[in-house]
């Protein structure tokens, strides 16, 4: 028997708004409301709001917290200050990705880790098995917490109208109080748009959700599901853990060496492999490819061919609602990953021309 799916505190509110639910990472989550294309477009043109309460939230605190996190994660914790955040990786001993996460420094000795739902239990087990005997406390906030993502060019204005406060800038995190409710908001997201992610108590999320929908009504805000979240993140070439990030691939192979510190002292798990990939070059590289207009939508698992020979599979693929072209990510041997390399994608037995392109596929800031 599969384990029963969990529901977020926003389940009923979203069902009332017409959500269609699907299983995702052990949770019953909305895949869409009005439709994936409309939700995608509203995030690119105005604003959308997503329930991201399925993501795990961990509080790590204590005098040893910074050093301990530095010894487990790839990025340099010492670059952080209270109120800042960084994207980073938790690796296995082989240098493969267990999870990608954002670490927010919420106080001098306190951090909030936001982790992926599907691997949350594994992350926590891994962290606990590497705990020092003193100086660090981990608290799993997930059972009583919730989170929202407010994303889109109108998101800062909507946040300001809702809470009479300025939306936090990129990568910063701040605490807010509104009508007696406490929450944190951070200038992070998974769409490439302006906006923020709100972290709050599960009991307060429905009220914050309703407030943002009301404040955004004149901007045309819409509740959005995981379907649009997936196409939005793929246009940015942001990786999805479990698809594009794998326990068998290092963050250097994932083309995310920017989030790996080569200069810090701490020897995090997997560092030997990561250093070797940095020095000698990775054995594969997560590469962006686009299909020509008119080709069928690419999907994860389709084969990539070079001169008729299969060289890899797609880890992600979708027809871009913004660009109207098929977007793909695939781990390729590095010599195929140079920009402009002509390859083919096999779809239902037919081969369609594809070429490698720079990331992101689409830049909303331009």
């Amino acid at each position: 028997m599969p384990e029963a799916l969990r529901r977020t505190p926003l389940f009923n509110a979203q069902a009332t708004l017409g959500a269609r639910f699907v299983p995702f990472g052990g949770w019953e989550m909305p895949v869409q409301f009005s439709g994936i294309l409309e939700e995608h477009r509203v995030v690119r043109s105005a604003a959308g709001i997503f329930d991201i309460s399925h993501m795990g939230q961990l509080r790590v605190c204590g005098t040893g917290a910074a050093d301990w996190l530095d010894s487990l994660l790839t990025n340099a914790i010492k670059k952080l200050r209270p109120g800042l955040s960084q994207y980073t990786f938790l690796l296995n001993d082989q240098g493969g990705v267990i999870d990608d996460l954002i670490v927010y420094q919420t106080d001098s000795d306190e951090f909030l880790l936001v982790i992926n739902a599907a691997v949350a239990a594994r992350d926590i087990e891994w962290l606990r098995s590497h705990m020092p005997t003193t100086g660090v406390v981990i608290e799993d906030l997930s059972p009583t917490s919730a989170a929202l993502a407010l994303q889109g060019p109108a998101a800062p204005a909507i946040f300001a109208a809702a809470f009479d406060a300025t939306c936090p800038g990129r990568r910063t995190i701040q605490r807010f109080v509104w009508e007696g409710l406490y929450f944190s908001a951070a200038g992070t997201g998974y769409t490439g748009e302006a906006g923020c992610e709100l972290f709050c108590a599960g009991k307060d999320v429905e009220k914050l959700f309703a407030r943002l929908l009301a404040a955004g009504a004149s901007h045309g805000i819409k509740p959005c599901g995981l379907g649009a979240r997936d196409t939005l993140r793929l246009e940015m070439a942001y990786p999805l853990n479990g698809r594009d990030l794998l326990p068998t691939r290092s963050p250097v192979e994932a083309d995310l060496a920017l989030f790996v510190s080569a200069t810090k002292d701490a020897v995090y798990p997997g560092r030997m492999v990561v250093e070797s990939h940095l020095k000698k070059g990775p054995p594969s590289l997560l590469t962006a490819l686009i299909l020509e207009a008119g080709a069928p939508p690419p999907r994860a698992g389709y084969s990539v061919l070079a001169e008729g020979e299969k060289i890899s599979d797609l880890t992600s693929g979708a027809l871009s609602p913004t660009l109207g072209l098929g977007l793909c990510l695939s781990y390729l041997p590095p010599h195929f990953s140079n920009l402009g390399t002509q390859l083919e994608i096999e779809i239902r037995g037919r081969r369609f021309p594809a070429k490698t392109v720079a990331k992101p596929f689409y830049n909303p800031q331009k």
Binding site: I36, G227, P296, P297
Partner: protein, 126 residues
């Protein structure tokens, strides 16, 4: 969910409307709703001979690709080319202008094996 009385239906959510010696085929309102926003359509070539239940077209939404099966054996005699440039019509008007293809059945009695609207309604509620 609309299920017109005038059409015949398959277990795989195609509809069929006899017109003279040919039949117009599309996907049901239920099928388009389950798929979500349709972004791509692949139609059979005119003149192709298909068996009953043979996959002969593909309708793809943002999230999924769905095979369309021939409701009866026969020859494809027309396809709705307008859908290729505007696949979203399948969501907007699945029983009207978003028909997929026309088929001339090898054996006109084969239509008798298809479901009527009452049986298709029962299938959806089972």
């Amino acid at each position: 969910m609309t299920i017109p009385d005038t059409l015949k239906y398959t277990d795989t959510h195609e509809w069929l409307r006899p017109e003279g010696d040919r039949c117009v085929v599309g996907i049901t309102d239920h099928a388009q709703s389950q798929l979500g926003d349709v972004v791509f359509v692949e139609l059979p070539t005119v003149g192709r001979l298909v068996e009953k239940g043979e996959a002969c077209a593909v309708v793809e939404s943002v999230k999924a690709a769905g095979d369309i099966y021939a409701p009866v054996a026969g020859e494809i005699v027309a396809v709705n080319e307008a859908l290729v440039g505007d696949p979203g019509r399948i969501n907007a008007d699945p029983y009207g202008e978003a028909w997929l293809f026309e088929i001339r059945p090898t054996d006109s009695s084969s239509l008798n094996s298809l479901k009527d609207s009452v049986a298709y309604t029962a299938l959806l509620s089972s």
